[in-house]
């Protein structure tokens, strides 16, 4: 519970850093020529927003790193030989890169040349993405364990790190996670730009932000559906069919299974309430065959079923929001090409108001991944119930949960305040 809370809160910040890092790098690169004064202001502005999120990400990330030990001691002791690897790689290869070169990016313009400065921005971006890559590899291994063996004392031993880092499951998941972050980045940039245009402030840069953000948003919301979403779906179908059944709310196994667009799962009666179906589509999406048999929730004993409602709703929220993102960005793209976007106030309003929603879609995606994996912590190998620390009394866990809640509330208010202040100040000229 504490872990779920802290990790969901923590993840808000990496979404922003992974999504914004390429924009920072891009504007810094454009500014390196020296002639594009606008890009210089843009780079400085997004750098500040990035830094706020990065700092909050580090501050909330430190507990994550250690909660594996504090709260999940049994899990850490048993699977550490594998799970420790990507975490160590992340620490050594990604965190240093990101933090050291963020220092250069932020304070170092006077000490290093323009080209090295731009390179720092690229390295910060690389660090942010590598960090995402390694941590998602950790999760992907928990979803689809590979490259391991069970040693005589029951612990898990590593046999092949390459298999862990390059498994099909991991690569698709990484691609999808990065795509999700880039959608968020695009919407943040476009949303801030839209705000400036609507408020008639900083309009030159506002136009640029709207343009760049919309292009990135459109591109990656399409990629999120195909190929990365599709690739993840195929992996889940192949290796975690129970999760698929829960995601889709398919209670009974059937040939030619329909796809539920909406509907509310009623677990007691084992059916969807008020559904709207597209006939046979689920069979086609899962197996590329309109008549294929898809196993429903009834195919699994109740001890092996994930929590159905949460998985189902989270999945539908993610997919529904993804569809909306494509629609809005496509509309924006069409208007952009015809040169009418900057005056189209309703679309600008939509872009501005949509800013928080990619966050929701990202978090919902993680809920599908993690809740849908239950009752396993390592799929098919170790149950979540066997993973927690035996020596930590429930009272202590509750106390620390309350402490984290208090601390994160303060931090959340602070970050929001700082970001709004920077946005309010706007991209003023560099000092």
């Amino acid at each position: 519970m504490q872990f779920a809370f802290t990790v969901m809160f923590h993840y808000l910040f990496p979404i922003a850093t992974m999504g914004l890092a390429p924009f920072v790098a891009w504007y810094t690169y454009k500014a390196a020529g020296g002639r594009d004064e606008e890009a210089q202001r843009a780079a400085r502005f997004w750098m500040k927003i990035f830094a706020i999120n990065f700092a909050a990400g580090v501050v909330t990330g430190i507990p994550m790193e250690f909660q594996f030990g504090t709260n999940w001691a049994a899990f850490a002791a048993r699977t550490g030989a594998v799970v420790g690897q990507p975490l160590a790689l992340e620490g050594v290869y990604a965190f240093f890169l990101e933090s050291v070169f963020l220092g250069v990016l932020f304070y170092g313009r006077r000490f290093v040349g323009a080209r090295l400065h731009a390179l720092s921005a690229v390295l910060v971006c690389l660090g942010a993405w590598l960090s995402g890559y390694f941590i998602v590899c950790t999760d992907a291994w928990m979803q689809h364990p590979v490259g391991y063996t069970i040693v005589p004392d029951g612990r898990i031993g590593l046999t092949n790190l390459g298999a862990v880092l390059l498994s099909r499951f991991a690569l698709w998941q990484v691609a999808h996670v990065l795509t999700g972050a880039l959608i968020s980045g695009g919407f943040i940039v476009a949303g801030v730009g839209a705000y400036y245009l609507l408020a008639h402030r900083n309009e030159a840069l506002g136009r640029r932000f709207v343009r760049d953000g919309t292009i990135v948003g459109l591109l990656f919301s399409l990629i999120a559906i195909f190929p990365t979403g599709d690739g993840n779906g195929a992996d889940v179908t192949r290796w975690q069919p129970a999760k698929l059944a829960a995601m889709e709310g398919l209670f009974t196994s059937q040939a030619g299974a329909p796809l539920a667009i909406i509907g509310m799962p009623d677990v007691k009666q084992q059916r969807l309430v008020d559904p709207i179906y597209v006939p046979r589509l689920l069979s086609y999406l899962a197996y590329g065959n309109w008549k294929a048999n898809v196993r429903g929730i009834d195919a699994y004993p109740s001890a092996l079923r994930p929590p159905i409602e949460l998985t189902y709703y989270a999945y539908h929220i993610m997919v529904g929001l993804g569809t909306i993102f494509v629609a809005v960005c496509a509309l924006g793209g069409v208007l952009l090409v015809s040169g009418k976007l900057y005056g189209a106030r309703p679309v600008l309003w939509a872009l501005m108001l949509l800013m928080p929603f990619p966050y929701i879609a990202n978090e919902a995606g993680w809920i599908v991944t993690e809740v849908g994996r239950q009752p396993w912590i390592v799929y098919g190998v170790m149950r979540t119930s066997a993973a927690a620390s035996a020596t930590v009394p429930a009272g202590e866990a509750l106390f620390t949960l309350l402490g984290f809640a208090g601390m994160y509330f303060v931090l959340g208010v602070l970050v929001l305040h700082l970001m709004l202040r920077e946005i309010g100040k706007g991209p003023v000229s560099a000092p």
Partner: protein, 330 residues
């Protein structure tokens, strides 16, 4: 291999203490050393570009410990659950305090956050020292290597002494760093403070050494600590000499040497245990109990060494480029 892995973790932890130690030390002594807002701002700017990267060493050390000795990671962090969470809170709080101080132009506001910043940093240093003290003293462990004692158990006299000593040494370390980062009269006063503090920390060194002999008794005589201890005494003497001669870089390096030899002594003392059991001499969680299967150990060791080589190279390059004295106008 297992011994090399132990040395690697010890080295990483030492680097962490050497780096984050100075910014925690400066933070702890902020109100004592900086007299006005200009000086405080300069002191904070002196650590501004670095402290975040310094804390990464702690995160990385934790992660590498997890990979190299998963059982120790699990046992230590779940056993010391509450103290550990408190450390995490303090680290977070410290970051927040540092960020917040500059956000309103009000004397009261800044005074409050500066005090919070100093207090959380001082407490962190003390907690690190207390943790180290308990490791040296040995811990009550069950058959699986999990900690069985209570919170009150950890606050024993010896551990508290080591805690105080940690604060002293790292404040001195912080002053050594600060004196090379700022200029003029401020730098002069930092040096003066450092030379006064030297007597206290030298006294602390003698006290802790004596207490360690009392606690560890005969087990200490057998360990290869003596030559390292000689090195730390040399470093401590050189530190004084170079502070007085205003050779700031050399003084800071001497302080680094002092801190790292102290930690090397500690590591050599507890070896081959990661968590020595109390009463001493009766085992504990050793590096051989805690290691993963051989492939995992070798993989993590090699990837970590390779990565750290690159990290040290670019960190040194960046630090050299960005190191300049901060002007404090009088």
């Amino acid at each position: 291999m297992t011994v090399a892995a132990f040395a690697l973790v010890a080295c990483m932890l030492t680097v962490y203490v050497m780096l984050d130690g100075y910014d925690l030390g400066i933070a702890t002594s902020l109100s004592a050393v900086a007299r006005n807002e200009r000086e405080r701002a300069a002191a904070i700017r002196a650590i501004g570009p670095f402290w975040n990267g310094n804390e990464v060493w702690l995160i990385a050390t934790g992660a590498v410990l997890f990979a190299l000795f998963p059982k120790a990671y699990a046992s230590a962090f779940s056993g010391f659950y509450l103290p550990f969470i408190v450390v995490l809170w303090l680290l977070m709080f410290r970051g927040i305090a540092m960020e917040l101080r500059g956000h309103f132009d009000s004397v009261l506001w800044r005074e409050f956050w500066d005090a919070a910043f100093s207090a959380s940093s001082a407490l962190l240093l003390a907690l690190f020292g207390i943790a180290l003290g308990n490791l040296l003293r040995g811990l009550p462990l069950d058959a699986h290597g999990y900690f069985m004692g209570t919170l009150a158990y950890l606050l024993n006299g010896y551990a508290l002494l080591v805690g105080i000593f940690a604060v002293l040494v790292l404040v001195q370390h912080g002053l050594a760093f600060l004196s090379l980062r700022v200029d003029g009269a401020f730098s002069q006063r930092v040096r003066g403070l450092a030379s006064h503090l030297w007597w206290v920390s030298a006294g602390g060194y003698v006290a802790v050494t004596a207490a360690t002999f009392a606690v560890r008794g005969s087990t200490l005589a057998l360990s290869p600590v003596a030559p390292v201890a000689l090195l730390s005494i040399v470093a401590l003497l050189l530190l004084r000499r170079w502070i007085l001669r205003e050779r700031d870089v050399a003084a800071f390096l001497a302080s680094c040497a002092f801190v790292s030899t102290l930690l090397a002594e500690a590591a050599a003392t507890i070896f081959p245990y990661l968590l020595p059991a109390r009463p001493l001499g009766h085992g504990g969680l050793s590096i051989y109990d805690a290691q993963p299967n051989p492939i995992a150990l070798v993989t993590a060791f090699v990837t970590t060494i390779a990565g750290l080589t690159v990290v040290v190279a670019y960190s040194a390059f960046v630090a050299r480029r960005m190191m300049e004295r901060i002007r404090v106008d009088d």
